[in-house]
């Protein structure tokens, strides 16, 4: 049966093989139920040594069977080798009907396509999908149930609640000891924070640590503890450093992105949240990261100093910490080696789990106490609903990430985006896929104008007082369409290829198969 949710999307109330779903009803409208999940108690050898000879041995030792769920983190990004290696091994063992539950998937995981076609993998839940894998899964109904898209906080919540029960977690680490203490800071495949993996380590029935760098006990700092890890495996190579990260993320030099960032800084300054102790989450896209540059300049001019930075980290933000512009970084993932170095050396730069970051049903999450959040968008509609998952062709190409988590809790939620991307306007009548509801977006900043959500009259007034010209979002849409024309509606079938969960587990939208 299909129902209409609060953002007007038609979503199923029951999905075969996945069960019942509630429709999205509002940011904090659906109360949690039940208890936290707990993994089984097992007996471990007195020596505590957990090192096994191979991935195959670890899979066998874990008791993995057909029909079970395996998980991974995506801290190795497009340099990840572990997911493909493990699935190859599982296929070789003749296992089928596996649910793949990584924190996200990248282009490199297109190697999974044959294993999806052959039935080794029959279900997927992830934050995002990219490249050929995303293309295939949007154009064909290959899985026994739709892909379930979850935000970072939503995934942490679902795992903690036992909605996403992980049978075996394969957690890569760039350094580990034989007792299962692990980190992502040392070693050739250093990736920095292991924030997304921490939730899997806590709740999976069986945790297998995989590394290419065994170090003497104890592997310090301990990001994932020996108390959570069942087995450790050493492989030749766990990731390609080139695909994991660059040396230091360079600030954009694109004048359009810099212009958008400069406008966003004006909005921040006028909003009232540019004040002593401000907390901030920079995005990673060109314009949103560049806001940090202007923020730093204004902090320099005014003497204002920030409290904590949250989310992912780049070298630029880490430099701001080092120079005293912020007092701490709470980090779920490092985006460059400069950030890894900061995590390694600066005691005020610490890792946090995805649950600590953004779990709506955790006892506290950073996303709910942050002042300013820079958000991106592939599309935004006139009700300010945001799509960060599907492209203008309807194909999945992005990730839910922490978008809806941070938008729900942060005080000032700015979307920065070019008004025209490629040949397409970014402002549309209705986004193809709602990931973040418009009720928690305050303002859209583009190179051709700024639009404040009409639900935020106080912010509108502050911008007016500061002399910042704004227009309606419909005016921005008109300005874009004057240059691009109105896009034709996409041809899609009725088949649902992905369910988009809101962070509380309700369904906010679906992705339909593109024809």
């Amino acid at each position: 049966m299909m129902v209409v949710n609060k953002v007007g999307r038609i979503v199923p109330s029951f999905v075969e093989n996945l069960g019942e779903f509630q429709p999205y009803a509002g940011l904090f409208a659906t109360p949690p139920t039940g208890n936290h999940y707990a993994p089984p108690i097992r007996r471990y050898p007195g020596t505590g040594k957990k090192l096994l000879a191979s991935l195959r041995d670890a899979i066998l030792a874990s008791g993995l069977k057909s029909g079970m769920t395996i998980s991974f983190h995506h801290h190795f990004r497009n340099g990840d080798m572990l997911v493909n290696m493990v699935v190859e091994e599982i296929a070789a063992l003749g296992l089928k009907d596996i649910t793949l539950a990584p924190s996200s998937l990248q282009s490199i995981h297109q190697a999974l396509i044959p294993h999806i076609r052959s039935g080794v993998i029959s279900a997927i839940t992830t934050s995002g999908l990219r490249g050929e894998l995303a293309d295939v899964l949007t154009r064909e109904s290959l899985l026994k149930s739709p892909v379930v898209i979850r935000s970072h906080g939503g995934r942490a919540r679902a795992i903690a609640a036992g909605e996403l029960k992980i049978d075996v977690a394969f957690l890569g680490a760039s350094a580990a000891d034989v007792y299962g203490n692990m980190n992502g800071i040392h070693g050739p495949a250093a990736c920095g924070s292991l924030g997304y993996a921490m939730v899997d380590a806590q709740y999976a029935d069986c945790v297998i640590g995989v590394t290419d760098n065994i170090v003497p006990y104890p592997a310090l700092p301990i990001s994932i503890s020996q108390t959570q890890v069942d087995f450790v495996v050493q492989v030749d190579k766990i990731g390609d450093p080139k695909g994991i990260m660059t040396g230091a993320t360079r600030l954009t030099r694109d004048p359009l992105e810099l212009h958008i960032a400069a406008q966003a800084m004006r909005v921040i300054e006028a909003s009232g949240y540019f004040r002593e102790g401000l907390s901030f989450q920079a995005g990673t896209g060109g314009a949103s990261l560049a806001v940090a540059k202007f923020l730093k300049e204004r902090m320099m001019d005014t003497g204002i100093r920030g409290g904590f930075c949250t989310g992912g980290s780049t070298g630029y933000i880490c430099d701001m910490l080092q120079e005293g512009y912020f007092s701490a970084i709470l980090d779920t993932q490092c985006f460059d080696l400069a950030a890894v170095e900061s995590l390694r050396t600066n005691p005020r730069h610490v890792e946090m789990s995805a649950s600590f970051y953004a779990n709506i049903h955790g006892k506290a999450c950073t996303a709910h106490i942050t002042d300013i959040m820079m958000l991106g968008a592939t599309e935004i509609d006139t009700a300010f609903n945001v799509n960060v998952l599907t492209g203008s062709d309807g194909i999945m190409m992005g990730a839910s990430g922490g978008h809806s988590d941070t938008a729900a809790g942060t005080k000032l939620r700015l979307v920065t985006a070019p008004l025209i991307r490629g040949r397409f306007p970014i402002v549309v009548d209705n986004v193809h896929t709602v990931v973040t509801p418009g009720e928690c977006i305050d303002v859209l900043v583009t190179e051709r104008g700024i639009a404040v959500n009409s639900t935020q009259p106080a912010l509108q007034e502050r911008l007016n007082e500061a002399g910042i010209m704004t227009v309606s979002i419909e005016e921005l849409q008109w300005r874009a369409e004057k240059l691009t024309g109105k896009p034709e509606p996409l041809a899609q079938s009725e088949d649902i290829v992905a369910l988009v969960e809101y962070r509380d587990g309700t369904l906010i939208d679906v992705v339909r198969r593109v024809l």
Partner: protein
């Protein structure tokens, strides 16, 4: 109504649609769609058509829109003018102007084309680009060659070639020519526009160069990259103290006119015609800056 500001004149290659569409976003005072150096010989026709289409269809907001056309002695000159006039740019910037005849020739051709297009004769203005030793020497007569002339720009790259010298960071080789262009333009009541600064990543060097241009008397600077626009506006923007004093001068002057009093003074300093004119210019620039969307301009 105060005269339009020409602090920043952004060059945009006439064969690059994406850059043309985005140019007004950066709020330069003027946009110069370039059909000359930025466009190779085999793309001249296509670029000309693209520029005409852009002039007819795009909204450039409050920006003055000019087209840099190829020099009078090139095979593209006549076609450039004939094709562009019906699309009605605000002005044409003629490259490599060396004599008053170059401007007279363009003026006459523009007049014929305007009549054919049903436009009032004189609607389209002219900017003269002085880029050679000969052009510098003839700058005074060039600056008076046509009532259409609204600005005279200086181009250092071709100029240094013509005097068989090289550009240096210090710019001594340009000092006489820059000053000559400023004097000729100011004497004729038109805007002198300084040469481009090509090192787009060197903000410090660019800012210093703009300061020199402002001090020499230029009204603005040609820009080759959008990031230079805010820097130019920043240098040309009067300080709050300058604006405050200028406003008081104008207020005192207005009051004196109303009351029919003679000589007036502000802060013990006599206010006469040139002081009032300067005060008006400062207030005009300050008001224009206020309207800018660039955050640094606030």
């Amino acid at each position: 109504m105060s005269k339009p500001l020409r602090r920043s004149m952004l060059f945009v290659p006439g064969n690059n649609p994406a850059l043309i569409v985005d140019a007004p976003v950066f709020l330069p005072d003027s946009i110069i769609l370039d059909l000359e150096d930025a466009v190779t010989v085999n793309q001249k026709d296509a670029a000309r058509e693209l520029v005409v289409h852009a002039l007819r269809t795009l909204d450039f907001g409050s920006c003055e829109v000019c087209v840099r056309i190829n020099g009078r002695h090139t095979p593209f000159f006549t076609d450039d003018v004939r094709t562009l006039v019906p699309a009605r740019p605000h002005a044409l910037r003629l490259a490599m102007v060396e004599s008053a005849e170059d401007i007279v020739c363009l003026d006459e051709l523009l007049g014929r084309c305007e009549s054919e297009a049903g436009l009032p004769v004189g609607a389209i203005k002219i900017m003269a680009a002085i880029e050679t030793a000969k052009g510098v020497v003839n700058a005074p007569s060039i600056s008076l060659a046509s009532p259409r002339l609204v600005a005279m720009s200086f181009g250092a790259e071709d100029f240094t070639n013509s005097i068989q010298s090289e550009r240096t960071p210090q710019g001594q080789e340009l000092l006489f020519a820059r000053t000559a262009v400023v004097l000729a333009a100011r004497a004729a009541g038109i805007d002198p526009i300084d040469t481009v600064f090509s090192l787009v990543d060197d903000d410090t060097g660019f800012r210093a160069d703009v300061r020199v241009a402002k001090q020499l008397g230029f009204a603005g600077k040609s820009c080759v990259h959008p990031r230079q626009i805010a820097l130019v506006h920043d240098v040309f923007r009067p300080t709050p103290e300058e604006v405050h004093r200028a406003e008081r001068v104008l207020a005192a002057y207005t009051k004196a006119l109303q009351q029919g009093t003679g000589v007036i003074a502000v802060d013990g300093r006599m206010v006469d015609g040139p002081i009032v004119t300067k005060a008006q210019r400062i207030v005009d620039i300050a008001n224009s800056s206020k309207n800018s969307q660039n955050w640094r301009a606030q």
